[in-house]
């Protein structure tokens, strides 16, 4: 009756219910889970240091195996390069020396290079690009350190709260509140996941389709590939949260290619049966009727006046930094398909010197809102900083800074109307997935 993917989800739901109802030795199921989790964490922490010392991959826990998998694959790639080309070995030595000198000079370089970094560094053509890459790695390393610090701080705070609880006068008093006895069950991340995925599965039965074209893999650099994969991940996140999501289809996928590998890093379960994304190696012309298909391209001649539910829209999974080329238009022209662009010029006045190309997740959220709220409402997802008003505001601020600061030399004047300039959040429907926002929620929860 139901498709196979859906059936497996039902099985998961039922399993969960049975486990949660069981009570062992007076412990509630929730506390048991917590205990298990803390044990696992300790186990994980001890293994972290020995990450590269393990020789047998099968011994590692599942989470670490995946981490290890990226590096071991990269190491194989590097070894292959070293074996085939003798000059690469020389280059590796040179880069090692360079990295050492930069470290001694006090420039921003990472403390160590992992195999996956080596794979990228060896392909970079110039010294300046290598320096920028090192700088990028350095920033990420520092971010990780900071996150670790925050984690430890949070743990310490929690410990304090627990101690306070233990000091209560009547030890077995029933306390009502978050983290203690409460009317509602705590909704965990896993159940939220299931709900959102179900949301998309429903769309695969009744909803509209949105297709991502993965055929531009060879035209992108590694840096562009990285951001492209991230944008795809973010567009999936936006899609599943929406009230009326699309059925997402990836076509022209090269399963062993670098782009799909990057996507796999973000979504490791993407090839599972119950994962709400359809991945196809075929072209969209083989999958759908040619008259139905419409390509979304910023260089198209006609505007998209209204969302047409009968047609299937295609987004090109292509990120280009640097000189822009009408590549998606060329592809649509070659395949002789209809193409269409967003009515940005109709609703929005762009500021000077901002490009009219959008990221993939912005495209998805525009399409999502276009199908239920109309085109004008959907245009809210175009970033505010590109609009003329915000450009003028930024300019004003610059002028004020330059005029007043040069005369008085105090910085207070310039920051007076700081709140006016700060970009506003677009609408209430937009969700903040950033790390800082999530940690804020977590803090509220712990209180």
């Amino acid at each position: 009756m139901y498709p196979r993917a859906l059936r497996s989800i039902f099985v998961k739901f039922t399993n969960q219910q049975t486990t949660s109802s069981v009570v062992n030795n007076g412990f509630s199921a929730v506390t048991l889970q917590k205990l298990q989790a803390s044990e696992a964490r300790r186990h994980f922490a001890t293994h972290l240091d020995e990450e590269f010392e393990h020789e047998d991959e099968d011994e590692l826990p599942e989470g670490l195996q995946k981490k290890h998998w990226i590096d071991s694959k990269a190491q194989k790639e590097v070894d292959k390069m070293l074996a085939t080309k003798p000059e690469i070995a020389k280059l590796k030595k040179v880069i090692e020396l360079e990295w050492e000198v930069m470290k001694q000079d006090g420039e921003c370089v990472p403390s160590a290079l992992r195999p996956r970094d080596w794979e990228e560094v060896l392909k970079l053509p110039s010294r300046n690009k290598r320096r920028k890459f090192f700088n990028y790695l350095f920033i990420i390393e520092k971010q990780k350190e900071k996150r670790q610090m925050e984690k430890l701080q949070n743990m310490a705070e929690l410990e304090l709260i627990r101690e306070e609880r233990a000091k209560r006068e009547v030890p077995n008093e029933i306390v009502y509140g978050f983290g203690a006895n409460f009317l509602l069950r705590r909704v965990s991340d896993a159940t939220m996941n299931h709900m959102y995925n179900w949301n998309v599965h429903r769309a695969s039965m009744f909803g509209n389709k949105l297709v991502y074209d993965f055929s531009y893999e060879k035209l992108m650099t590694t840096f562009e590939l990285k951001s492209c994969a991230k944008q795809i991940m973010e567009s999936f996140a936006v899609n599943r949260v929406h009230n009326y999501p699309f059925e997402m289809t990836f076509c022209n996928v090269n399963m062993n290619g670098p782009l799909f590998e990057r996507v796999m890093r973000f979504m490791p379960h993407i090839l599972d049966d119950d994962f709400p994304i359809r991945v196809e190696e075929k072209s969209y012309l083989d999958l759908f009727d040619k008259s139905q298909v419409v390509y979304l391209s910023s260089d198209a001649p006609t505007m998209m006046e209204k969302y047409d539910p009968d047609s299937i829209y295609i987004v090109g999974a292509y990120v280009d930094r640097g000189p822009k080329k009408p590549i998606s238009m060329a592809k649509a022209k070659k395949d002789k398909i209809k193409m269409v662009k967003f009515p940005i010029d109709k609703y929005i006045r762009f500021g000077d010197g901002s490009g009219k190309d959008l990221t993939l997740n912005q495209c998805t959220s525009i399409m999502l809102d276009a199908q239920c709220y109309g085109m004008e409402e959907a245009m809210k997802h175009v970033p505010r900083r590109k609009l003329l008003e915000s450009r003028v505001k930024v300019l004003e601020r610059k002028i004020q800074k330059d005029l007043f600061l040069s005369k008085t030399g105090t910085e207070e004047l310039a920051y007076d109307n700081d709140d006016v300039v700060r970009p506003q959040i677009m609408s209430e429907n937009v969700y903040d997935f950033s790390h800082s926002a999530r940690s804020k929620h977590r803090k509220q929860w712990n209180k």
């Binding site: 000059e87 020389k90 280059l91 030595k93 040179v94 880069i95 020396l97 360079e98 050492e100 000198v101 001694q104 000079d105 006090g106 420039e107 921003c108 053509p125 110039s126 010294r127 700088n135 260089d299 001649p301 000189p323 080329k325 009408p326 590549i327 238009m329 060329a330 592809k331 022209k333 070659k334 000077d352 003329l388 003028v392 300019l395 004003e396 610059k398 002028i399 004020q400 800074k401 330059d402 005029l403 600061l405 109307n417």
Partner: protein, 533 residues
């Protein structure tokens, strides 16, 4: 203030560019989020340290007294107390401070102190020590020469391979000495994996000229466009004056002038002053002047030569435009195969035109006053050209121009020929190709400087050729804000390069003191005029 600003958006847009430049020029850095280094020089300079005191005193009194070994130890101990986190980088911080205050001699002394006390020397400090010699602003003595060679040999024994930065340090130091030929080995080491930095070529070339071996220098930069320092040009002049006399001297100096001409270089003040005094010493009359729009020098009243390209050059250019711009990597980006076939047929039957107009660019010339493009603008431009003599004019545009207004289109067709590409195709590459095919006497009209197309040509020699042709053949225009008329700016009628004729030489230069680079799109204001008595 803010109310006024908000009311006039146009004004704000205009001032933006000016302001950006002003902000870039001012040394205050407001919004610079990226910090390149773990420690910052300006923060360390603000602190009350012994080394800061000593350096500031030395700057004030302008003395070059060496600092004693005892004070160096005191400085090191103090720094180690001040920055406990950066303990392994203390030596390089002190070294950087010395160079930051403009005292390379003290930096060299510090290195010698470290070496005498058997401190473990890091690779970067050895490199900095070698580089400090190039900042001394005086030739090195014999003892120092020996020292440089010894440290270099010791370094190579420890590290048979070196990174690009250390290589450059060694090259810059070795080029100060007699053993400059060792630097070719290092240059090969750099070039194996990347392009060398801007100072390497200049350093080696000046060393070659100083040591009377100019052929190696010319060989080094044949077929390349590299930014050069002014020391290269000056040292060549010295070399010529040392070795030659009479006619041979002038012939050898002319070799350098031909190099400037081939590379389209615009020189700076320092170089031009040197050459000026040289020519004056040979009894030439020299003067710094300007050149009028017609190409007449205001000092000697002679006409400068015109740019002339041979038939072969035109063929090379038109072929490469066809190959790299129109076809490119993906034909569908600019055209489609069917359209290309139609275009080839059009070329076969085409006659040569006098003027080719970028139709859409001119149609949208008055965008400030009218939102839509109009064909009237194109007719206005065509009439300007046909005022005095009948000229064949071609207008290149896109197919959607047909829908704007039928009557105007017909009247345009009566005055000029029209070639329209498809709506989804690019029109600029076709414009360039058609102009190149029409021959050496054809001009084209466009406000676009075609820089994105220039970039696609890739080859530096081709680029130079294309730019030379473009600067002599492109009519630019702007619109008058009061009368709302299009004002055409004809291209300069003379070559913008260094050039010689029967009586003398003309050299363009700028008043800035920068690296010497090929000319941009502007006409150089300053010229050096040299002529015989």
């Amino acid at each position: 203030m803010s109310l006024f600003m908000r009311s006039s958006i146009c004004f704000a847009q205009c001032t933006k560019r000016l302001l950006n430049n002003a902000v870039r020029a001012s040394k205050r850095n407001y919004n610079r989020p990226a910090i390149r280094k773990v420690f910052r020089m300006d923060q360390i300079r603000e602190k009350e340290l012994l080394i800061n005191k000593l350096m500031i005193d030395a700057q004030k009194n302008n003395d070059e007294k060496n600092i004693d070994n005892d004070t160096w130890t005191a400085i090191r101990e103090e720094m180690q107390k001040e920055f406990p986190d950066l303990n392994d980088k203390i030596d390089s911080i002190i070294y950087d401070l010395c160079l930051n205050y403009g005292k390379p001699q003290q930096a060299i002394n510090f290195y010698k102190y470290l070496r005498a006390n058997n401190v473990e020397l890091q690779l970067n400090i050895v490199g900095k020590y070698l580089r400090a010699y190039s900042q001394l602003k005086r030739p090195v003595t014999k003892d120092e020469e020996r020292d440089i060679l010894e440290t270099y040999n010791a370094l190579r024994e420890d590290y048979p391979l070196l990174g690009a930065k250390s290589c450059e340090d060694c090259i810059v130091a070795l080029c100060m000495t007699k053993h400059w030929e060792l630097s070719f080995e290092l240059l090969d080491m750099i070039c194996e994996f990347q392009e060398p930095g801007p100072l390497v070529h200049s350093a080696i070339m000046t060393a070659a000229f100083k040591n009377n071996d100019p052929q190696k220098a010319w060989k080094l930069i044949s077929g390349k466009t590299v930014p050069l320092t002014s020391s290269v040009h000056i040292s060549y002049l010295d070399y010529c004056q040392r070795n030659f006399k009479g006619e041979k001297l002038i012939n050898n100096v002319m070799k350098m002038l031909h190099f400037w001409r081939d590379q389209n270089l615009v020189l700076n003040q320092l170089v031009v002053d040197n050459y000026k005094t040289f020519f004056e010493s040979l009894n030439y009359v020299t003067s710094k002047t300007s050149v009028s729009k017609n190409g007449i020098c205001s000092a000697c009243k002679t006409q400068l030569t015109q740019t002339t390209l041979s038939q072969d050059n035109f063929k090379i250019l038109s072929d490469s435009v066809m190959k790299k711009l129109i076809v490119g990597k993906n034909v569908f980006c600019t055209t489609s195969p069917q359209e290309l076939k139609r275009y080839m047929l059009f070329i076969k039957s085409m006659k040569s035109y006098d003027i080719v107009i970028d139709g859409l660019n001119v149609a949208f010339a008055k965008r400030k006053f009218q939102n839509k493009g109009s064909i009237k603008n194109i007719i206005e431009v065509v009439r300007y050209f046909q005022k005095y003599s009948p000229k064949k004019v071609l207008v290149v545009g896109r197919a959607h121009m047909n829908w704007w207004s039928k009557e105007e289109m017909e009247s345009l067709r009566s005055v000029a020929d029209v070639f329209l590409t498809k709506n989804l195709s690019a029109d600029d590459p076709f414009l360039l190709h058609l102009t190149l095919l029409s021959g050496s006497n054809t001009y084209f009209v466009s406000r676009d400087l075609m820089r994105q197309h220039l970039h696609l040509l890739r080859d530096s020699k081709l680029k130079r050729l294309f730019k030379r042709w473009q600067m002599s053949r492109q009519y630019l225009f702007n619109t008058d804000t009061e009368t709302k008329n299009i004002i055409l700016h004809p291209p300069p009628e003379f070559e913008l390069n260094t050039q010689e004729d029967m009586n003398g030489i003309h050299i363009p230069f700028t008043e800035l003191e920068s690296l010497i680079l090929p000319r941009s799109y502007t006409v150089p204001e300053n010229w050096l005029c040299v002529r015989k008595r």
